[in-house]
């Protein structure tokens, strides 16, 4: 049956048909939809794990128990899960274990770019990579089979353009009936990695790679297509598609076995063609592999090392490198330059529970003379904070958008959970400013809690603001340990943030309404003055999920003096009409929020009268 599937849907369905029994993940773009597609599948245990490390450890345990397990995450998630990845490589498995890493070239929705093909070599784990959804579907069964045959976890690498593109898939398999039965057989030499056992396993790892090198030579999903012999293109992933499109008449070698690469197949291909070029996204991974075989290649001289590829980048590079003739079809390049148009940057949503806290932080934040001119309520800022402005370390989530105009509320954003450690580091370095760490509820559970433990243990006085919108909002509202909702949507035990903070040893824990600006600001001002760690939980539901709507707010244009204090919230419902502030009644979530009414010095904003 033909179906139009995204790469992520194909990975999920392929895993299902390959008999996956346990699936774990932490949400992260572009990988999230893999688990979202699996949760509805019968006979599979699926969970949103606390973080990627735990997800892989749960998957590894399931594989030790003899069943097939799938673990999915975004590229930076594999950094978090690197420790169990190497451990899994050392012990090997019993049931198949496949780890999907979805890279994000071009950083569509990521804090950094990295090429996770390198992980395969460093962890000595085989890696497969699809070129479209059909490959993604087909490769899953191969991945599980390889895992079991070679006693190794298998990495499957996807990228945004594979995971999020829909292509036609011939769905030609069904879930097997005779599934593997769960069973743990004691085997300390395999499962207990004390040094004496680990040294033995170390040899098994190297032997495994040698066997795999022979195995991938005949791997049926590596495709050699011989046409015009003047040019031979080697590519992987979505770059195969761009290469086929741009080098229409050339010979192509499309690789799906990324580690190890099929050395003899590559040599054969190179002998068939006059010139070898390599088209790959991000690092010169294949280029290094092919060069090591003594083959002369052109690669990153014409394909950028940074960012996502597309057909015109490949084509333009090829023309500049003299691989393709300048084509008259490129006349669009002589067209007038794109005019300057207003950008449409992402914003926090109308009714977002983060807006009030970020607005308060901006007012307490670093004293910026340019911004200060705009500040409408300057008089309320405590003099001491103004002189020696607050530093706001931040984390990964929707609230990171508060770094942009008009909020300019945040001073750092590095990786999941980093805000709290950074705040402690700044404090211990002796920076004179008061420091606040801002982190979301899901991110706090993911890896913020360990930072907070460090603050308590090491006598820090950090103030941690947990922006608790009761969901993992950025990736589309997945559950997390604090929500009390399982991946399957059923009721689960909830880990309570305030009890957790108190249990760690934080005495000063305050829960505030995320829409009460005055209370948030005064609580922050109080907390930063104390010498002990404090946690402020700003709680308010994400409006996209809660879908509560009250009576929308309205601007009294008689009272509005066009100071535009309300516009500085960055609420998308508020704009300007005939020089006065104006609220879009369709976007405004109404009485549940009302932050704009709290910042209006003219008291011109109130709930509309019906």
């Amino acid at each position: 049956m033909k179906r139009l599937l995204s790469g992520n849907e194909a990975i999920a369905l392929g895993a299902y048909h390959a008999g996956v029994a346990v699936a774990t993940a932490y949400p992260g773009t572009p990988s999230t939809e893999i688990l979202e597609n699996i949760v509805g599948m019968e006979g599979v245990y699926a969970e949103w794990s606390t973080n990627e490390k735990v997800a892989l450890e749960v998957g590894l345990g399931a594989a030790y128990g003899g069943v097939r397990a799938l673990v999915s995450m975004k590229h930076v998630g594999l950094n978090v899960a690197a420790d169990p990845l190497f451990a899994a490589s050392t012990t090997g498995i019993v049931g198949g274990l496949v780890i999907v890493s979805c890279d994000d070239p071009g950083e569509h929705s990521s804090q950094g770019e990295q090429d996770n093909r390198h992980f395969a070599r460093v962890a000595k784990v085989p890696m497969l990579e699809p070129t479209d959804s059909q490959d993604a579907y087909d490769l899953m069964e191969w991945a599980f089979n390889i895992s079991e045959e070679f006693d190794t976890p298998v990495l499957l690498r996807s990228t945004t353009r594979i995971s999020h593109c829909k292509t036609v898939v011939d769905v030609n398999k069904e879930r097997k009936v005779n599934m593997r039965q769960p069973c743990f057989t004691r085997s300390p030499a395999k499962f207990v990695m004390v040094p004496s056992n680990a040294r033995v396993r170390r040899h098994a790892m190297e032997e495994r790679i040698i066997k795999l090198q022979a195995y991938v030579e005949d791997f049926p999903l590596n495709k050699m297509l011989l046409a015009d012999r003047k040019l031979g293109v080697i590519s992987d992933g979505v770059a195969c598609q761009y290469a086929r499109e741009v080098f229409k008449d050339a010979s192509h070698l499309e690789l799906t076995t990324i580690y190890p690469v099929p050395a003899n197949l590559i040599r054969r291909f190179a002998q068939e063609v006059e010139r070898v070029v390599i088209v790959e996204e991000l690092d010169p991974y294949l280029e290094d592999e092919v060069r090591r075989l003594g083959i002369v290649v052109t690669g990153k001289e014409f394909i950028p090392i940074i960012g996502e590829l597309n057909p015109e980048i490949v084509e333009n590079g090829a023309i500049q490198a003299g691989i393709l003739p300048a084509s008259p079809k490129l006349s669009h390049q002589s067209r007038p330059p794109a005019p300057q148009l207003p950008p449409r940057p992402p914003l926090l949503c109308a009714g977002c529970p983060h807006i009030a806290t970020e607005f308060a932080l901006r007012r307490l934040g670093f004293y910026n003379p340019n911004l200060a001119k705009e500040l409408p309520l300057e008089r309320k800022i405590p003099a001491q904070l103004k002189k020696n402005g607050l530093i706001v370390t931040s984390d990964i989530g929707c609230y990171t958008l508060g770094a942009y105009a008009p909020l300019f509320a945040l001073d750092t954003c590095a990786c999941m959970g980093a805000s709290i450690g950074q705040a402690l580091g700044l404090e211990k370095a002796g920076v004179p400013n008061k420091i606040v760490a801002v982190i979301g509820d899901s991110t706090f559970m993911h890896s913020g809690v360990t930072g907070l433990i460090d603050v308590v243990y090491n006598q820090g006085s950090t103030t941690v603001i947990i922006l608790d919108n009761e969901t993992t909002a950025m990736t589309g509202h997945q559950g997390h340990p604090g929500t009390g909702i399982s991946a399957k949507g059923t009721k689960a035990r909830a880990v309570k943030l305030e009890a957790l903070a108190q249990g760690i040893g934080v005495n000063d824990v305050t829960v505030v309404d995320a829409f009460d600006l005055e209370l948030i600001e005064s609580t922050i001002s109080r907390c930063v003055e104390t010498d002990e760690p404090s946690v402020l939980i700003a709680r308010g539901a994400c409006p996209l999920r809660a879908k509560t709507s009250g009576t929308p707010f309205n601007v009294d244009s008689e009272k509005c003096n066009s100071c535009y204090a309300c516009l500085r919230l960055g609420c998308p419902a508020i704009s300007v009409s005939e020089d006065k502030a104006w609220i879009d009644a369709i976007l405004c979530v109404g009485s549940g929020c009302g932050v704009c009414a709290q910042v209006c010095p003219q008291e011109a904003i109130s709930e509309s009268k019906r």
């Binding site: 569509h108 929705s109 036609v168 598609q241 449409r344 949503c349 516009l567 998308p572 704009s575």
Partner: protein, 204 residues
């Protein structure tokens, strides 16, 4: 079987993805190879949405090359101007009469362009630009969210499949209470395009 490259552009919440999903599946069901790629960024939070849909005998790249777009379907005027350079010279631009002002224009030196300015930008790439009265149609069918159906209807006239193929897919895809108004919006969008072709404002 002609190769068809369609770029649908708009703003989060306008139904661009549903429209491109429908068009992709309709192509597949009628024998085309199909690829579709969405660039969402953080669109749920008010950003731009771009969807590449390609029908053909064998489609390789999921992204349409700049200058290869046969049909630019603008769900929003500013977005259609932004993506105009993707048009093939002489390609067709169908633009809804919808304006969603980004917050970035407030207090900014770059104002939201007028339709004449937007049309001017499109004209640098094609003289085949048509403003679809989607707002009026949405009001007439009593479903302002049917913008995506109006645009699909207008587009369908230029492609080789019959209206039935589209309607059958739309029927499957939408919740029952929106089906009738959506089909009506689709047909009215189709009628608009037919009228424009008959008036020779756009050549096929």
């Amino acid at each position: 079987m002609k190769d068809i490259n369609v770029l649908m552009v708009g703003v989060g919440g306008q139904g661009v993805i549903l429209a491109s999903d429908a068009m992709s599946e309709i192509g597949m069901d009628n024998g085309y190879d199909v690829k579709k790629s969405d660039t969402l960024g953080m669109a749920q939070r008010g950003g731009s949405v771009v969807s590449h849909v390609r029908w053909g005998k064998h489609v390789f790249s999921p992204l349409i090359k700049k200058g290869d777009v046969d049909f630019l379907i603008g769900f929003e005027q500013l977005e259609s101007a932004r993506w105009a350079p993707y048009l093939k010279l002489g390609g067709i631009a169908l633009v809804a009469d919808v304006v969603v002002v980004p917050v970035s224009v407030i207090g900014s030196a770059i104002p939201y362009p007028s339709w004449d300015e937007i049309k001017g930008i499109l004209t640098q790439h094609t003289d085949q630009t048509y403003l679809v009265p989607a707002t009026r149609i949405g009001l007439e069918v009593g479903n302002p969210r049917a913008l995506n159906m109006v645009m699909l209807g207008s587009l369908s006239i230029f492609l080789e499949l019959e209206a039935e193929a589209w309607i059958e897919n739309i029927r499957r895809r939408l919740p029952p209470k929106f089906v009738e108004s959506s089909i009506e919006a689709f047909m009215m969008g189709a009628d608009e395009a037919k009228a424009v072709i008959q008036a020779k404002e756009i050549k096929i």
